[in-house]
């Protein structure tokens, strides 16, 4: 009936993801040729330096880009539907800031208390745990307020307040911190997909996959939530369970990405709108997979741009995501004055 072009669109987006994945591996501070990549991937007796570049750095980074894009977009879509607010997203609502606060307390706060981690794994688990805790705390606060205050603008402003408050605490910690800890925190806060180590990847991949699976299981309840909570409940949806699942999956998705890649803004809010513009639909059966795939493509594109191909330099990824995401958000505000 109406879904004539949907398959075609999905194929185009998947092709875009595959192409961008390839480009992300080829381009970087050293541009590789296709044949170099090919032989590094599929034959044993190739240049060891190139092997290292590809397997140690570029492939993990591209995988992280795909997961980060999908994760942030899926959580943004959930936030927008749950709060019935087109401008909701993990970054705007302060959930990423909450994760940042958690991480900063760990990176900056513990050295102040002269506590240091013995092992790499322990440290990483600590960082993720702190990010989850921080984002869960902010999300819980917003959900608690949103059951009382129905005004969508009030909730957004509140998210910003939480974000600013976290920022203020982070600044105090920064001011007090020694140079070494400060430097590692500043690098983290600029956001990077490439800094993820193999140990971190071992935590990142299963956690994000779990979050994405929950997102897919939430498709039907999210659809009923389009009509609001009362309608959803009257159609047999157990709203408390659903709210908890959204809570868990958003914390896992946005918190984990923030822990390992730094606060990356505007993907979560902009990509679901790109999916809506593309497919002209509100059905989450389409929007959820479309947001995940588009998020992956956009994140790969941002990473590619951040490499500044042909130059030795890279710029922080969250500057690029902001510059790409913000125009889309502005377009959404201007075009659809009312989305929910």
């Amino acid at each position: 009936m109406k879904k004539k072009y949907h398959k075609l669109y999905f194929i185009i987006i998947i092709l875009a993801v595959v192409t961008l994945f390839g480009c992300d591996i080829i381009f970087g501070s050293v541009t590789l040729s296709l044949s170099q990549v090919w032989s590094a991937l599929f034959s044993a007796d190739s240049d060891e330096a190139i092997q290292t570049i590809i397997w140690r750095f570029r492939v993990p980074k591209a995988i992280v880009a795909i997961l980060a894009g999908a994760a942030l977009s899926a959580s943004g879509l959930q936030m927008q539907t749950l709060f019935r607010n087109p401008l909701a997203g993990p970054y705007v609502l302060g959930i990423s800031s909450g994760a940042s606060l958690g991480v900063s307390m760990l990176i900056l706060g513990l050295p102040l208390l002269r506590i240091s981690f013995e092992s790499d794994i322990l440290r990483n688990i600590g960082v993720v745990g702190a990010a989850w805790f921080g984002s869960a705390a902010i999300l819980a606060a917003i959900i608690a307020v949103s059951t009382r205050i129905k005004d969508i603008m009030a909730i957004l402003i509140l998210g910003m307040m939480f974000g600013s408050a976290s920022g203020a605490i982070v600044e105090i910690l920064q001011y007090l911190s020694p140079e070494g800890a400060l430097k590692s925190f500043v690098v983290w806060s600029m956001g990077s997909l490439g800094g993820v180590t193999t140990t971190q990847l071992a935590i990142l991949v299963p956690v994000l996959l779990a979050g994405l699976v929950i997102s897919i299981l939430l498709i039907k309840p999210l659809n009923t939530l389009l009509l609001g909570e009362n309608y959803a409940r009257s159609m047999g949806v157990n709203i408390n369970v659903v709210r908890r699942l959204i809570f868990v999956s958003t914390t896992l998705l946005a918190g984990t990405i923030t822990a390992f890649c730094g606060p990356i803004g505007f993907i979560g809010i902009a990509v679901p709108h790109m999916a809506r513009m593309f497919f002209m639909e509100a059905d989450h059966k389409t929007l959820m997979p479309a947001s995940m795939l588009l998020g992956a493509a956009v994140m790969l594109l941002c990473d590619l741009i951040a490499q500044l191909p042909g130059s030795e330099m890279t710029v922080p990824i969250n500057s690029i995501t902001a510059l790409i995401g913000i125009p889309i958000v502005i377009l959404v505000i201007i075009k659809n004055k009312k989305i929910f």
Binding site: K220, L226, L227, N230, G236, V237, N238, R276, K285
Partner: protein, 262 residues
């Protein structure tokens, strides 16, 4: 709900007390709603019409007492059990861009569809039938934000029909509509109650329309709740009492509300 036992009540309010922490709306109400009736819930703003509807569909908890649906207490029914018995049309205005009329009505099948909400042949037939019953079949592919208020209300009623429940509750379905639309929606609901044997209860401020079209009325006035056929409530003077201390009076002969001053 295959066999229709006319004498059986579908909804029973037992010693129902509703209200909020600081305020009781009404106390110890006992009503048995019969199958297939078209009932209006009348009362002034803030008397508890919405609250009563919401407590029947278990969106809010009563302070005390119980609601029975088909003989079962809602306390022991899951949201899904209730969704199979009652569909609810709220006052919420649904104006989401790109949300198709077909998809909204399709959501009415949610209690019966699989984990992802896929509509099978039977579900789709049900959606088209429901759209047809409210005269909105041609609007299936339209987006809900492009509809007029009257059309949108028909779509929401159609969604309730697609849920395929013996009971439909509607919270002020004719508010914000112009007079012809108010009549059309009310007539549509009456037809559904009588032809499809649905039990329909709706809250309303349109006393004239309700007196004209409803089988039974629930009057909520100052904490008192009266339930009865339209005629009996008129005979007992309950309608008249609604307008004490106002500029209005009830003209019994013409069954209409009029202004006291000439």
């Amino acid at each position: 709900m295959g066999d229709n036992n006319k004498a059986k009540s579908v909804i029973e309010l037992q010693h129902l007390t509703l209200g909020y922490d600081d305020r009781i709306l009404f106390n110890d109400v006992n009503i048995n709603f019969q199958v297939g009736g078209f009932t209006a819930l009348l009362g002034r703003n803030g008397t508890g019409k919405s609250t009563l509807l919401r407590s029947i569909v278990k969106l809010i908890k009563p302070l005390s007492g119980d609601v029975l649906i088909g003989g079962h207490s809602v306390k022991n029914m899951s949201t899904r059990d209730i969704a199979a018995q009652i569909s609810f049309v709220s006052t919420e205005e649904i104006k989401i861009p790109n949300l198709k009329v077909f998809d909204v009505v399709g959501l009415g099948r949610a209690p019966y569809t699989n984990w992802i909400g896929r509509l099978d042949r039977k579900d789709k037939d049900m959606v088209y039938q429901s759209l047809d019953m409210v005269g909105m079949l041609d609007f299936a592919d339209k987006s809900v934000d492009k509809l007029s208020d009257g059309e949108r209300q028909r779509v929401m009623i159609s969604r309730a029909l697609a849920q395929d429940t013996p009971i439909i509750l509607l919270d002020e379905p004719t508010a914000f509509l112009d007079l012809p639309n108010k009549y059309e929606i009310s007539l549509l609901l009456r037809r559904l109650a009588h032809e499809k044997n649905k039990t329909i209860i709706f809250s309303s401020h349109d006393l004239n329309i309700s007196l004209e079209l409803c089988d039974t009325l629930v009057l909520i006035e100052g904490g008192d709740v009266h339930y009865g056929t339209t005629d009996s409530l008129v005979e007992e003077g309950h309608i008249q009492r609604l307008f004490k201390n106002t500029q209005l009076f009830f003209d019994k002969k013409n069954m209409t509300i009029k202004l006291k001053t000439k």
